[in-house]
Amino acid sequence: MLSLKQISKYYSSGGAKTYVLNRVDLDVDQGEFVSIMGPSGSGKSTLLNIIGMLDQPSEGYQYFLNEPVHQLKDKQRSALYKQNIGFVFQAYHLIDELTVYENIETPLLYQDVKSAERKALVADILDRFNIVGKKDLFPEQLSGGQQQLVGIARALISKPKLILADEPTGNLNSKQGEEIMELFKKLNKEDGVTVIQVTHSEKNAQYGSRIINLLDGKIDSSIIL
């Protein structure tokens, strides 16, 4: 599904290059559930952002669904991720001014989905996540776990092939975290969605099918469970 070849990312400060990612090679197949682990500052988020095309590598080749991402223009790249990737953030990043319903609906608006179809899709996902009763609430009226649930629902609404989650449970208590992990697992098993998550928790990492350990911008180990 995606493939990174010799990907590097560095920042230059005062002439010296600081490598955040150093010649990383990574292939992820359709249907995998990958957990990325590593100490703080090891480049996990950077890697995830590059995969999600929010950030660009300084060097290297990158393929997504067989498209050479490093050759694409801005517009093509955003079209690609808009249709295929859903993002889930540690800080949820719901839009404060929008209700639960509207937050979930927003990606569809940007994909020019017709109103009737939008309604059906959103109703469907609200139902599936058991949050119909909360659809008119604003994010600040929800608990952290609920917010993250909405964040995931929003990421899933446009039926992406890949979910990228950067420490999705970082701000949640362990019970809420477990629920989210179960949800990912279910999505991965039942719907065949590919999931890549960054996590600090050994336990959460176990939900996946592969664990990648990052250290100083390099892949230290890759363990298939």
């Binding site: 952002n49 999600g52 929010l54 950030d55 517009k75 955003s78 991720y81 808009k82 249709q83 993002f87 953030f89 990043h93 719901l94 839009i95 404060d96 001014e97 929008l98 509207e102 927003t106 990606p107 608006l109 940007y110 994909q111 929003r154 446009s158």
Partner: protein, 807 residues
């Protein structure tokens, strides 16, 4: 999608309501001011536009290339119009025009009305629609009078007016006239204003002047044939001028006039009537022309205000957008394209602009009456519905939303997704642009403050400068309404002799300053003296002139009834004496009227400013020559109760002339009236400065709120480390104070240049002083500092533990 945009826009606006309210208020104030200003400008520039043949109509004027410069006057001799019409086929219609006050009488009703003497062509040229009567022959009868609807109503009530006989008293002669036409009331937007029209043949001394090419008594307008290009008309007039104006040219030559580069000493020229409202340099036109400087400076101020408001809008939107960077990032990850984000933010801008527009127009309605009073503007809000203004407003609206809305939107769209999601916006700080815009804003504000101070200083100077005569205790009474000055003076002298409060009475040809009658006269005489050409202003006076006005006599004596020869004697001022140059000027005989006997100089007075302070003191000759009428009576009263004296004099006048209005005014009122234009300009500057400062400070306030928000953590840390409240306030304010200082420095040379140019139009003027600039800067800094302090003090006093925890 649009619905969604509007919904989110509304919620976003509501969330940032403090900001948006400040933004809205600033813009609304600007819109209100600009609407009033631009309506006024529009009004001034569309004067007389209702004449359908406006572009074909021209006013004729004469130019004499005198030794001291070209002298332009629009007064022309009576035979000019018939001769031009006869000799130039391109002249389709032509009319002479002069006005006077006249009493119109019907039954026992009598009205004092404004009368215009015109030729038959007048109504064919100008678009004054007739309600009753026939346009082609309405003035064909010598004793026809055309009246306006308002006059008809006042005189006849509901009775039909057409073909009624009325009595007209013109120049003390009463004659019957037949009402041959009734005109629609004249638009207030017209230079030509009158209540009654009669044929030019009734103009006083018409018969005497019928062939007098040397007597210029009125103005004249030409309508050319359709399609005729009048560009070459002036040169075609050369033979005409040679033929008819030879004696005038001879006189000019004798007075030392020099031919111009084309070899002309005297020529006729034409000026488009469409520019009539701004024709202050033609030496007499229809109506009261205004100097173009004023509408133009209004436009400039209007643009300043608009620029300042737009800058505010941009700065506030950018600052506000800064708090929404995360939203931009999130939306991008959800698949929003740049275009979609741009539209979203732009819609918010348009909503704020629309709201400002509504509030601005409401404000405009609330302020319009005061504005009209201050700026002597005759605008009305209904002008907003005029298609041209409506179109202008829409264009302006789009322009403002485009400039003020697009840039901040673009700014926001450009945020780096990853960075803003991390909560890291330091790299996108809009510091430079914001600072530049703030500098522009405060430059304009400081500029206006400086202009305000300097115009105020100059006006103050004009008001307080001693003019060399008594202007506070002397009353000037115009003799008008067909009265004979000499007679009126004699009557008033007798009448006031017994009044204890009256010190002395005299009369004169020229007024001092500009009186309630609004007219100004001057008479200049040129003659040869030795080998020199001498030119002098002539002032016809009566006995006690120097005494009444407290003019200082340097040598000789004042006119005195005990000296028989005084009707041919003159008193001159110092400048005139200097010009004559001979020793022993006093007592010498001067050949003032080339043909007649020489006149003797019996007195020399100290120079006094008999003209406005725009001009230097010119040579002046006081005479008792009966050829000049007495137009003004001057009455000096004893100091004490001026109000009571005024009332007493007014009462005496009304006893003598129950039918003629008393138009007396104190001379200091008259001299102040000479500087109405300056006052108006100063008013424009003050209002502009106040508004500019208010809007700029609103912007600064919002930005300081923003800055304090951004630096909460830093402030907290500094406090924990032991910084004092004062230290923190200073830290937060210093950056802005520096910007305001820079802005002032930029404004200095521009202000100096502008004001120096303006001051050149005064012969008597202040010198620009450095402390004006310092004061303006200090004022701007003080206002900026106070504005910022609201926020910075609050931030400095806040509990640091709280602000650090909230991070």
């Amino acid at each position: 999608m649009l619905k969604n945009y509007i919904k989110t826009a509304w919620r976003n606006l509501w969330k940032g309501r403090v900001f948006n309210l400040l933004n809205l208020v600033g813009l609304a104030v600007a819109i209100a001011c600009c609407t009033l200003i631009f309506l006024t400008v529009f009004y001034e520039f569309t004067y007389d536009r209702f004449h359908t043949k406006l572009d074909n109509i021209y006013q004729i004027y004469t130019v004499s290339n005198r030794a001291e410069g070209a002298e332009v006057t629009s007064s022309v001799p009576e035979p000019l119009t018939p001769a031009l019409k006869a000799e130039y086929p391109a002249v389709k219609y032509m009319t002479r025009s002069a006005d006077a006050g006249a009493l119109i009488k019907y039954g026992n009703k009598e009205l004092d009305e404004n009368l215009h003497f015109v030729d038959e062509d007048f109504l064919k040229m100008f678009t004054f629609p007739l309600i009753e009567g026939n346009k082609n022959n309405v003035l064909s009868g010598l004793n026809n009078v055309v009246i306006t609807q308002a006059t008809a109503k006042a005189l006849f009530g509901e009775e039909p007016a057409l073909n009624k006989t009325v009595l007209l008293n013109i120049n003390n002669v009463q004659q019957p006239f037949i009402v041959s036409g009734i005109l629609e009331d004249i638009s207030r937007h017209s230079s030509i204003e009158f209540d009654l029209l009669v044929r030019f043949e009734h103009y006083p001394n018409y018969a005497a002047n019928i062939n007098a090419w040397e007597n210029r008594t009125h103005i004249a307008m030409i309508e050319f044939n359709n399609g005729y290009d009048p560009a070459s008309f002036t040169s075609q007039l050369t033979p005409f001028v040679k033929k008819h104006f030879a004696p005038s040219i001879e006189i000019l030559k004798k007075d030392g006039a020099k031919p111009n580069e084309k070899g002309d000493i005297f020529w006729l020229d034409i000026a488009p009537f469409s520019n009539n409202h701004f024709a202050t340099n033609l030496g007499g036109v229809e109506g009261n022309p205004v100097n173009k400087t004023y509408p133009v400076s209004l436009i400039v101020i209007g643009c300043f205000i608009l620029i300042i408001a737009c800058i505010n809008f941009i700065n506030l939107s950018v600052a506000r957008g800064f708090t929404r960077s995360r939203e931009v990032g999130v939306r991008k990850t959800l698949g929003a394209s740049k275009g979609q984000l741009l539209i979203q933010f732009w819609i918010e801008t348009i909503m704020v602009c629309l709201a400002s527009m509504v509030v601005g127009l409401l404000l405009c309605m609330a302020l319009i009456n005061q504005f009209k009073a201050i700026f002597k503007s005759r605008i009305s809000l209904s002008m907003l519905l005029d298609p041209v203004t409506l179109f202008g407003i829409i264009i302006l609206f789009l322009l403002v939303t485009a400039i003020a809305g697009f840039y901040p939107a673009l700014m926001m769209v450009r945020y780096k997704t990853v960075a803003v999601l991390k909560g890291n916006t330091a790299s996108t700080k809009p510091g430079k642009l914001r600072n530049t815009l703030l500098v522009v804003q405060f430059s304009l504000s400081t500029l206006l403050i400086i202009c305000t101070i300097i115009t105020w200083q100059q006006i103050n100077y004009l008001q307080n400068k001693p003019l060399g005569y008594n202007k506070t205790e002397v009353l000037s009474i115009p003799v008008s309404g067909g009265l004979i000055g000499e007679k009126a003076l004699k009557l008033m002298r007798n009448e006031l002799k017994n009044h204890a409060e009256v010190a002395s009475v005299t009369g004169a040809y020229m007024n001092m300053g500009r009186g309630n009658d609004g007219s100004s006269r001057s008479s200049i005489l040129g003659f040869n003296f030795g080998d020199k050409e001498i030119r002098t202003h002539i002032q016809r006076v009566d006995y006690d002139y120097l005494k009444t006005l407290d003019i200082k006599l340097l040598e000789g004596r004042e006119f005195n009834p005990d000296f028989a020869g005084d009707s041919t004697a003159v008193i001159i001022n110092e400048t005139m004496a200097r010009q004559l140059g001979t020793k022993n000027v006093l007592g010498s005989f001067v050949p003032m009227y080339d043909s007649v006997a020489k006149v003797q100089v019996v007195g020399i007075v100290k120079d006094y400013n008999f003209r406005s302070l725009h001009e230097d003191i010119a040579p002046l000759t006081l005479t008792m020559d009966k050829h000049y009428e007495i137009n003004y009576i001057f009455v000096k009263v004893k100091p004490g109760n001026l109000v009571a004296s005024y009332d007493a004099i007014k009462k005496s006048w009304n006893r003598q002339y129950p039918n003629t209005e008393f138009e007396g005014s104190w001379i200091n009122e008259n001299t102040e009236r000479q500087y109405l234009n300056e006052r108006r300009l100063s008013g424009i500057f003050v209002s502009g400065a106040v508004i500019a400062i208010v809007i700029s400070c609103i912007g600064l306030l919002a930005i300081s709120i923003m800055i304090v928000l951004q630096r909460t953590k830093e402030i907290g840390i500094r406090k924990v480390l032991g910084s004092s409240v004062g230290g923190i306030v200073l830290l937060l304010s210093m950056d802005f104070v520096k910007l305001v200082l820079l802005a002032s420095v930029i404004a200095f040379p521009i202000a100096w240049w502008l004001m120096n140019n303006w001051l050149q139009s005064f012969a008597y003027r202040i010198t620009i002083q450095w402390w004006v600039f310092a004061l303006a800067t200090l004022l701007a800094i003080l206002l900026a500092f106070i504005t910022i302090s609201f926020q910075s003090v609050k931030a400095a006093l806040a509990n640091p533990v709280k602000s650090l925890r909230s991070e």
